[in-house]
Amino acid sequence: MSTHKRLGLIAVWFALLPSLTQAQQFGQPISPADVAPWDISIGPDGATLPPGHGTAAQGEAVYAAKCAACHGEKGTGGPADVLAGGRGSLTTGKTPSKTVGSYWPYATTLFDYVRRAMPFTAPKSMTDDEVYAVSAYILNLNGIVGIDDVLDAQSLPRVSMPNRNGFVRFPRDPG
């Protein structure tokens, strides 16, 4: 074997080396359809909102049964977070009451969080219709939607939240 040939073989071997050492691939391919049941994140565009619908009128009973014990009868006065009121309390010098109505920038966040995390003792137990309805009820308590407005995958992302423009990026963001 000539020196050139030998060098050539060594070069080929080195060229193969990275592909050999990078073969640490232990993730199991999974189809988007199989991931779908786990994909419970709802972004502001609402693209992943499920079918279903509900109104505040329908949500009142859901709220009374599953939410009021911790969040109070009308979204205030319970041991857990205040959900309603607080408009105007973010003003300079005031003690803020950061509620869905006064502070939350996106209505999609409400659906996302209620569905994944509420009620506290039985998260993920509500139907999508119940989540739409109770979201509508909480928004209605804040005067944001009407009692008979239908919330669904199309209408929820279009709900205009009062504090939508209340957030700014941190000035010392290293990214």
């Binding site: 391919p29 994140s41 911790c70 920038p105 996302d112 995390a117 957030f167 941190f170 290293p174 990214g175």
Partner: protein, 426 residues
């Protein structure tokens, strides 16, 4: 000059109200004060042969526990918002009873939003999907096949020290006030390795990380951080991550606010824009003096605390004490810590104990001669970016005191004539 002082057993002052030169810690000049107490009494009373020296000790244990005499070294758990709401809240590290830079795993602070899930690792799956070439699912066995890295890193809850936003100083101890800070050696797989295997789409800028707890706590994280130093952790201080810290797998984002270090990690979705989860909108945003709020405040900025003396550990006699504490920065490493015993009127540099690591707490020490009178102890850290820990007034001037999160201003312990320490504003 210094040599002569040292010979006389006197330590060199470095700042007001008894702060001594840090050289004192190495020169033994404190011996004169320490040796003034003379032992007395019959030899058998002074140095008795104890019963445990006259019989064999206990046998071996499969998992060791602290001495039974250390049963007061416990986390502090504030009451839940309502009796049924266990699992919403915190358990806070007793920083004043620890030393060094590592927090024992059983004393690492806990913060959870829906309790601690009881996860069987064989049933647990981590999924990466969204803007990727190939969605992937990982078992714990699969994660263990990858090359691993270890790093020592602090995790600090964004709400740590939040009580210092209150108009009046709260009469609480260091665990209740500042105990949402802990440090471990974390070991795991680089998140970048797993993301590269899935093949990240060029349009991706963020990901959302989600836990397998009841609340499925989720946070949007910049892709740049994920590709930089994010670690998918399987081990904490050498053993598998504790359940309260995310067993069997948690995300570590060194330097970022604790809430983004998602525990019980089950899903990472690669996306173009933030998902705007509940915890990055209604919580973990900083309401400023006006109606605006900072959003996506990730790094915990430069901060330090004196952990000893501190409330609950009274000074017993005048004389020499070592002031000891922790300093850390989510933006880099600690360059300098200064200490003051006169409420910030004068400062002297503390000794920084090795190792000094980026995004890890540094143990600092400074010698102090307590004259028995009132004192206000403070520490002030400077990090490798040049950022200096602000005074409470400067902190409030920038953002007000309505923000709850990311409180990093200089903290103060007032020492009274009895040697008791209390939280004050100075």
């Amino acid at each position: 000059m210094a040599k002569r002082k040292s010979d006389r057993g006197l330590a060199e002052p470095a700042a007001g109200n008894g702060i001594l030169s840090r050289r004192t810690l190495f020169e033994g000049a404190i011996a004169a004060t320490a040796s003034s107490m003379t032992a007395a009494g019959a030899a058998a009373e002074l140095l008795p042969v104890q019963a445990y020296m006259q019989s064999p000790g206990a046998g071996f244990a499969t998992y060791g526990q602290p001495s039974r005499f250390e049963d007061k070294v416990l986390r502090v758990i504030p009451p839940p918002p309502a009796p049924g709401l266990l699992g919403i809240g915190t358990a806070r590290t007793p920083l004043h009873l620890l030393d060094g830079m590592i927090t024992p795993s059983g004393l690492h602070f806990e913060r959870s939003h829906s309790g601690i899930p009881d996860i069987d690792p064989d049933q647990h799956r981590l999924v990466i999907h969204g803007l990727v070439r190939q969605p992937l699912m990982f078992t714990l066995d699969a994660l263990h096949r990858y090359p691993m890295q270890s790093r020592i890193a602090f995790i600090e809850c964004a709400g740590n020290s939040g009580a210092l936003n209150a108009p009046q100083p709260q009469p609480l101890g260091i665990a209740a006030l500042h105990g949402l800070l802990s440090c471990s050696e974390w070991t795991g797989v680089r998140l970048a390795t797993l993301l590269e295997e899935a093949g990240v789409d060029p349009a991706a800028r963020w990901l959302i990380a989600e836990g397998a707890d009841g609340a499925s706590m989720s946070r949007s994280i910049p892709l740049a951080k994920a590709m930089d130093d994010a670690l998918v952790c399987l081990y904490q201080n050498g053993e598998r991550v504790r359940p309260s810290n995310g067993y069997p797998v948690r995300l570590l984002l060194p330097g970022f606010e604790g809430n983004t270090n998602v525990k019980w990690l089950r899903r990472i979705k690669v996306v173009a824009t933030p998902t705007m989860s509940k915890d990055e909108t209604s919580k973990y945003t900083i309401l400023l003096k006006d109606e605006k709020a900072w959003q996506f405040v990730f790094p915990m900025e430069v901060k330090s605390l004196i952990t000893r003396p501190a409330p609950g550990i009274a000074l017993t006699s005048r004389g020499f004490y070592e002031i000891s504490g922790l300093a850390w920065s989510g933006n880099g490493s600690i360059r300098q810590v200064d200490v003051s015993a006169d409420g910030g009127q004068s400062w002297a540099p503390a000794v920084l104990q090795e190792p000094i690591l980026p995004k890890a707490p540094v143990r600092f020490r400074a010698p102090w001669q307590w004259n028995g009178g009132p004192a206000v102890l403070q520490s002030r850290a400077t990090d490798s970016t040049g950022m200096v820990q602000p005074t409470r007034a400067a902190f409030a001037a920038e953002r007000g005191l309505r923000g709850i999160y990311h409180y990093n201003a200089i903290a103060s312990w007032r020492i009274d004539e009895k040697g008791e320490a209390t939280n004050v504003y100075a």
